[in-house]
């Protein structure tokens, strides 16, 4: 199930709210939340819930052992065992086929492929639970004594499927003591609605236009069509992902949890380094704290560490070479910036460094989008006008004019412009100590909920053509 679905908004969520708020007892609420979370997960993956439970039991037990033997070599041993088991799980489910395909290709062998499929959210919950055992080992947080509480942390449906990667240390307290205030709940609604807007109104719309160009016959694609397609994808992926994080943060607030921010207007960054401090923050900080710094950070084997981290970052996004290339692409730019470009980037006008960053990001999404690398390179050559593709065609013209207002709106929405406007309004219009613009937020929430619902229903319009030729 996803948050931006009718069945979530108008069945799962309202039922969950009732059960959750009929009692103030924290244990009761934890059990309700756990049950709904497991059901939420089982909705898409009834079978894979076993993998989730298995992972929960292993890490729960090992964390207790790590805690028990803290300070001794045994503790380290249990930590390594837990992490190895976790990585093996994700390795088997997510990377087995990729690995075998490459082995078969290189050694011309014929090892069979697995047909198990990928448990949804495994990349997120595995990383969460790894952060937990490491933090217990580092004695940053005590091990959780109650299994169901650890399982609740792991499976909390707000962030189970698409992040953010919440660390146990950040919610450990809230599992036991949560205070839900009207202001918090209200803030949660605001964030949830923003997320819904990003996902349903912006990302889905951009996605429809993007596929028109990115999935079209590349030999007929025009140069401007290619640019429009990849820019729409750039919009789609940011609003999709950050919208989902907003909804997770919003839901968390409604139920008394505070998750850290995961995005901070990444498209206004002025360098690659800046971008990755604003994009999927919970992932980059995971790699920084649990891989990059333990490897030696920028003190020892700096270049090696950067390349390892970025190869892994790429691989985390998907089990194929294009993601590895996409990760290393960023790694190389980070190194370039550190060693050479920083002098230039500091001096040139902000607009130029912004264009520099956006070009890198947009080109990056080409690698990200096309799993078939040769197709990605073909697309890239069209973007830069190599080959015989026309500059301009009617398809581009039609889609451009049919989406121009949306495009401008989405571009502004990727910046803090609207937020700034809202703040200005708050400051400017004050009547008797009362800020009427706050009322607009409430109306805005209702409007966006209704519009999103209509659009979600609209997306179920699925005409099937029995063509009678």
């Amino acid at each position: 199930m996803v948050f931006s679905s009718l069945v979530f908004l108008y069945l799962f969520f309202p039922i969950n709210l009732i059960f959750y708020f009929i009692s103030k007892n924290n244990t009761y609420r934890n059990i309700i939340l756990l049950s709904f979370s497991l059901f939420f997960y089982a909705w898409g993956e009834p079978f894979f819930i076993l993998a989730l439970l298995f992972s929960g039991i292993i890490n729960y037990s090992f964390a207790l052992l790590i805690d028990k033997y803290k300070g001794t070599y045994k503790s380290k041993l249990f930590l390594y065992s837990a992490v190895i088991i976790d990585l093996s799980m994700i390795g088997i489910f997510k990377y087995y086929n990729f690995f075998v395909n490459n082995i078969n290709f290189i050694f011309n062998t014929n090892i069979g492929l697995s047909s198990i499929g990928l448990p949804i959210g495994i990349s997120f919950y595995t990383f969460q639970i790894i952060s937990y055992v490491i933090d217990v080992y580092r004695q940053d947080v005590p091990a959780q004594k109650k299994f169901y509480k650890l399982l609740l942390y792991m499976s909390l449906y707000h962030q189970l499927i698409a992040g953010p990667i919440v660390r146990y240390i950040d919610v450990a307290n809230e599992i036991d003591n949560r205070v839900i205030t009207p202001n918090n709940f209200s803030y949660g609604i605001n964030r949830f609605i923003i997320g819904l807007l990003k996902k349903v109104i912006i990302a889905n719309t951009a996605g429809q236009v993007a596929t028109v160009f990115l999935d079209s016959n590349l030999s007929e694609l025009s140069v401007l069509g290619a640019w429009l397609g990849i820019i729409m994808y750039t919009i789609q992926i940011y609003f999709d992902f950050s919208g989902y994080s907003d909804m997770a943060i919003g839901l968390g607030r409604m139920f008394g949890f505070t998750y850290k921010e995961n995005f901070n207007y990444p498209y206004i960054a002025k360098s690659v380094q800046d971008f990755w401090r604003r994009w999927h923050i919970s992932l980059s900080s995971f790699f920084k704290d649990y891989v990059y710094i333990p490897l030696g950070g920028n003190r020892k084997s700096f270049i090696r560490n950067v390349l390892i981290v970025w190869m892994l970052t790429g691989l985390w996004h998907g089990a194929s070479w294009n993601f590895i290339i996409w990760g290393l692409y960023y790694g190389i730019f980070l190194l370039l910036e550190r060693k050479l470009l920083y002098r230039i980037l500091d001096k040139i006008p902000a607009a130029l460094s912004h264009i520099y960053l956006m070009l890198i990001v947009i080109i990056g999404w080409v690698f990200f989008y096309y799993i078939d690398i040769t197709k990605g390179l073909k697309f890239m050559s069209i973007l830069f006008g190599y080959g015989s593709n026309p500059l301009y065609d009617i398809k581009f013209e039609v889609e451009f004019f049919n989406n121009i207002i949306f495009l401008i709106f989405a571009a502004f929405a990727s910046t803090p412009v609207f937020k700034g406007m809202y703040k200005k309004l708050n400051e400017l219009i004050v009547i008797n100590n009362y800020k009427p613009s706050k009322m607009t937020v409430i109306a805005f929430n209702a409007l966006i909920l209704i519009v999103s619902t209509i659009l979600l229903v609209g997306q179920t319009y699925n005409p099937f053509l029995y063509f009678r030729f």
Partner: protein, 421 residues
């Protein structure tokens, strides 16, 4: 309570009320609707629970589809969502959309069709196509494919060769309306059809008589010869095609005035559902149909879905039942089926077989004044030998009547060749 709390409560109140209001309205919505006429598909039904479907995740997936398909005020909300979507862009002189779609090349007929999918047939093929929606008109686009056009011509040559020189073979390829668009810019999205028709004709053996439907349609293009919401020609367009046939076959075309004219209004054709723009939906077509001046009697043969046996019923050349149904093009012959045998009271020995796609349906009624028997074969459904059919019934003429896009469907060619065994 301070002001901030006040606003928070209001915010919570409105949000929660909306969520529960819609939830309750949705629960009260009846879930017994089975078909969406607009979308031409069955709605998802409440899944049947089983341990297998639960464990595979199928149960929940099906439930989610069921939930969405029966959502409160769904069809109205879909319409509103289309209006919201139109805010994305700016209005220019022309309202233009380009749509890629996937569909299935099947014949369809309400008589045999149960509420589910039309019967599976070897000619059923998933087809990708492109549509241009220009203001109130939806048009298919045509891409010339030399290999397949050649295959089409060869297929007719093979049929003619098998049937022998005593059987006259005609070929009529009907153009589609994008060819006659005044607006050069959009017309150029589609390849030249006159060149394609010429190419096919040039590849015919000497025995094949090409029929020129193109010229008479072009001469009358300002009349209502194509639907705006459907990919077919109108009966009037088919009539002009027929005048071309009369020239080729040495017949004297019966004037349209001899036919009784009727109208079935408010027709939204198949391709209008792909992207139901407000402009297209607000301007439905009229299906004008003409009742032949001769007596006709038609037997329709089809294969039973369960047993596969051939069965028949009494049909009619103009099937008025369709006037009141959504798919009003079915008024012509009553849709597509394996074989239709039309007998007329015309005193002549001439008999003809028409091997056709659905463009043939609007055309065949105009043949009735010239033939005593007409055999309408739809190769997407028919499975018997046409050689036997021709020989046993002493049929002297065979016409291939398809629209230009059929020259791109090699499955169609295969199905025809399968009928030669």
């Amino acid at each position: 309570m301070n002001k901030k709390n006040h606003l928070s409560f209001l915010n919570i109140f409105i949000f929660i009320s909306l969520i529960y209001l819609i939830t309750i309205l949705n629960m009260l919505t009846p879930k017994n609707k089975t078909i969406s006429e607009v979308e031409n598909r069955t709605l998802a039904q409440k899944p049947v629970f089983s341990m297998d479907s639960l464990l595979s995740g199928k149960y929940f997936r099906d439930f989610e589809n069921f939930f969405a398909d029966h959502f409160f005020a769904r069809e109205n909300l879909v319409k509103i969502s289309k209006s919201i979507s139109s805010l994305k862009g700016i209005k220019r002189e022309e309202e233009v959309f380009l749509v890629d779609f996937e569909g299935q090349n099947v014949g369809g007929n309400q008589e045999q069709k149960d509420s589910k999918k039309p019967e599976v047939n070897n000619a059923e093929v998933s087809t990708k196509g492109n549509l241009l929606i220009l203001n109130d008109t939806v048009m298919e686009l045509y891409k010339f494919n030399e290999d397949k056009a050649k295959l089409y011509a060869d297929m007719i040559n093979t049929v003619s060769g098998t049937l022998g020189e005593n059987v006259k073979v005609y070929s009529l390829l009907a153009p589609i309306q994008i060819e006659f668009l005044n607006n050069e810019k959009y017309k150029n999205l589609s390849d030249s059809q006159i060149d394609a028709i010429k190419f096919v004709n040039e590849n015919f053996s000497d025995n094949i008589i090409p029929v020129d439907a193109y010229t008479p349609i072009k001469e009358h293009i300002d009349e209502y010869v194509y639907f705006r919401t459907d990919h077919h020609w109108t009966a009037l367009g088919a009539y002009y095609g027929y005048t071309g046939f009369a020239d080729a076959a040495g017949l004297e075309a019966v004037p349209l005035g001899s036919y009784k004219k009727n109208i079935a209004p408010d027709y939204l054709g198949y391709i209008s559902t792909v992207n139901p723009s407000v402009t297209v939906n607000g301007n439905p077509d009229d299906v004008v149909y003409y009742i032949p001046p001769v007596k006709t009697d038609m037997n329709v043969f089809y294969y039973d879905k369960d047993s596969g046996e051939m069965k028949s019923y009494n049909g009619s050349v103009i099937n008025k039942k369709y006037v009141f149904l959504d798919q009003k093009y079915g008024v012509f012959l009553g849709g597509d089926f394996a074989l239709g045998v039309i007998k007329t009271n015309v005193k002549t020995d001439r008999k003809i077989m028409v091997i056709k796609d659905s463009y043939g349906n609007a055309f065949v009624p105009f043949l009735t004044p010239h033939y005593s028997e007409i055999y309408v074969v739809d190769p997407r459904h028919y499975k018997e030998s046409i050689v036997d059919l021709v020989n046993e019934n002493d049929i002297g003429e065979v016409m291939f009547l398809n629209y230009i896009l059929t020259t791109n469907f090699d499955n169609f060619m295969d199905s025809v060749l399968n009928l030669l065994k």
